[in-house]
């Protein structure tokens, strides 16, 4: 069932990668970055649905904020145009700032919620914003005899 790991360090040293789940993009509203909130069945035994959905919805909100077309983005765009876009060499764009926030959020989620459940979320930017990759780990000690399935019970607590 659920392997209990207290933090990411422990996860690394005592677990082996069992499977990966990929949360695909949701294009129903166009090309803006948004991920599907459908709960994958592989995670059913690992994490509560609400926690997972919260994470994905928060990420979606971050990306919506980054890609929002409004006053600030127009200002940035016009200013950039008047300076022949040289301003991109000097300042950090709003998108980059939000990406940093997203990275911190994912790190925090991994440490607090996912690693204790034997899961690790990979930042979508590392996968070209195509997917949210969730790696599922199994407790190494109890999984020596497992074969083929990701729903192996690895309930031995360390």
């Amino acid at each position: 069932m659920i392997c209990h790991f207290h933090n990411l360090q422990e996860l690394r040293h005592s677990a082996s990668l069992a499977n990966k789940v990929f949360i695909q993009r949701d294009y129903s509203e166009g090309t803006t970055c948004k991920f599907q909130t459908k709960f994958p069945i592989e995670l059913e035994s690992r994490i509560e649905r609400t926690l997972f959905e919260d994470t994905v919805k928060t990420l979606n909100n971050f990306y919506a904020e980054a890609e929002k077309i409004g006053g600030q983005s127009y200002l940035e765009g016009c200013l950039a145009c008047t300076t022949a876009y040289l301003i991109f060499l000097c300042i950090e764009t709003r998108y980059e700032k939000v990406l940093k926030k997203i990275a911190n959020y994912i790190q925090e989620q991994n440490e607090k919620i996912y690693a204790p459940r034997g899961l690790v979320i990979t930042d979508p930017i590392e996968r070209g914003m195509r997917v949210i990759e969730i790696s599922i780990y199994e407790d190494r000690g109890s999984c020596g005899s497992s074969s083929g399935s990701s729903s192996v019970s690895g309930s031995t607590a360390r």
Binding site: L8, R12, A15, S16, L17, A18, N19, K20, F22, R25, Y27, S28, E29, G30, T31, A66, E67, K68, I69, S73, Y74, E76, G77, C78, A80, C81, A84, Y85, L86, F88, T93, R94, Y95, E96, L99, A103, I106, Q107, N110, V120, I121, T122, D123, I125, E126, R127, G128, M129, R130, V131, E133, S135, Y137, E138, R140, C143, S146, S147, G148, S150
Partner: protein, 464 residues
């Protein structure tokens, strides 16, 4: 010891230095490389990955040369006369336009147009698993399109065989650059790069400012010659006094038609939130009058469309050119036996096995030409490589070539069955047999793989 498992973890969650001695020894033997050095597309990188161009830079030097020469001649031969007779603002305006044109051109050429990095082996396997749902054991070409709803309109997503993923909407694969580019507009030889999501605004600025520049120079040169001939000289005499003006006139005359036309066309595209690619293919205008044939990406407001396209937020580059290739890329054969058997389904096993084992083994054979973008699948499936027999060479030979000729018809260099390899077809065949001999203590060359036989969905690796 357990290097393979650590690969899966986001490097930013790790402490800064790798902890194992084995890692350190690997690092000493392998120079740390940046990701641009192992980039699979046909691009060239300069300044340690800061600047990128398409491999065929096309006519970019000619474009730059024409602009510089025309402006140079203008400043040298026409400006003195015009400053004297008219106003000093003429060279000032021309200089500003010239600087803006050049900078826009360089931004367009050297910026990542919105390249999508290729799918990792695990992602590709996951997609493959989702595609094949019928479980039929007989070979059939798997469907490679997916229909989705965008703003209540059906849009087909195509599967890219090179990048091993379903292309997002508005993404297209450029055969010249061998990359999938988001919001692909076109590949511009004048600029020497694709025009896509990230550099479309630079491209638009370039052509608009170039239209102004050519029109301005054209007008000024005409004015110059007119003023000269008004001072009691004939036209021929005026031209003889200033021959450079004729050169400028000719260049500008021919440029204006094309540049103004292009500017007008792209202004229309921007206003309707279309790309050249979509417009040429008639993606949204095929069924005029039908309710559901409109452009689903348009905001149905010209100003909003313009602002969204040109003044929208600048998306980041997804290919991380200057990042470092993770040090676990080249896993030596010695560690293969120590790696724990992963818990995959048999289907994924076989696929990842052949795909990733080939990756690892090819790397061992071609140690200097290692593509470094697929860390995940390789080592943890290497032990399976001990079990997977090498396929008989004759059966492998036609498959890669068939795959490559079908799927990469536009591409001169066929891709072997590994994802990111740049090696040629013969390498792929050669690499399998000697690589398997390296990995297997006693290879059974004659035994065909039952795993592979039962899973035709591996097809996208072996067969189209």
């Amino acid at each position: 010891m357990r290097n393979c498992e650590y690969q899966q973890i986001d490097p930013r969650t790790l402490t800064v230095t790798p902890s194992t001695a084995q890692n350190q020894t690997e690092k000493k033997s392998q120079p740390v490389r940046r990701k641009w050095e192992v980039f699979p597309g046909k691009n060239r990188f300069f300044c340690d990955g800061r600047i990128m161009l398409a491999r065929q830079s096309g006519v970019l030097p000619l474009t730059l040369g024409l602009i510089v020469v025309t402006c140079g001649l203008f400043f040298a031969f026409d400006c003195p006369f015009l400053v004297h007779h008219l106003t000093v603002f003429i060279p000032v305006i021309a200089a500003v336009l010239f600087v803006f044109v050049t900078i826009s051109l360089l931004w367009t050429s050297f910026t990542d147009p919105g390249i999508l990095p290729r799918a990792t082996p695990d992602e590709a396997a996951d997609i493959e698993k989702q595609i094949d749902t019928s479980g039929s054991s007989t070979y059939r070409p798997p469907p490679r399109t997916k229909e989705i709803l965008i703003n209540q309109q059906v849009v087909k997503l195509k599967y890219c065989f090179t990048c091993k993923m379903f292309r997002p909407p508005r993404t297209s694969h450029c055969s010249l650059c061998d990359n999938c580019v988001e919001r692909f507009d076109h590949h511009c030889p004048w600029v020497g790069n694709c025009v896509g999501k990230r550099n479309y605004r630079f491209f638009y600025s370039f052509i608009i400012s170039l239209s102004f520049l050519t029109s301005f120079i054209f007008g000024c040169v005409i004015t110059h010659i007119t003023l000269r001939s008004q001072a009691g000289k004939s036209l021929v005499q005026s031209i003889q006094e200033s021959p450079a003006s004729v050169v400028e006139l000719v260049i500008c005359f021919f440029s204006i038609w094309s540049i103004l036309g292009l500017s007008g066309f792209h202004t229309y595209l921007v206003a309707s939130n279309l790309t050249t690619n979509e417009d040429i293919k008639g993606s949204w205008s095929g069924k005029r009058g039908a309710e559901d044939s409109g452009n689903p990406y348009s905001y149905n407001n010209i100003i909003t469309n313009c602002c969204a396209t040109l003044c929208g937020p600048m998306p980041p580059s997804l290919i991380d050119r200057r990042g470092f290739v993770p040090p676990d890329e080249a896993v030596p054969a010695a560690s293969a036996s120590e790696i724990e058997l992963p818990l995959f389904t048999a289907k994924n096993d076989a696929h990842r096995c052949t795909q990733s084992t080939k990756d690892v083994l090819e790397r061992m054979v071609h140690s200097s030409d290692i593509p470094g973008l697929c860390p995940h699948g390789a080592p943890k499936t290497t032990p399976l490589g001990l079990e997977v027999p090498s396929l008989p060479a004759p059966s492998m030979e036609p498959s890669p070539s068939a795959l490559c000729s079908q799927q990469h018809a536009h591409q001169p260099a066929p891709l072997p069955c590994t994802q990111f390899s740049r090696s040629r077809e013969k390498d792929s065949v050669q690499s399998i047999n000697p690589a398997f001999r390296l990995a297997l203590p006693s290879p059974s060359l004659s035994r065909t793989s039952l795993i592979l036989g039962d899973t035709p969905d591996i097809g996208f690796v072996l067969r189209p």
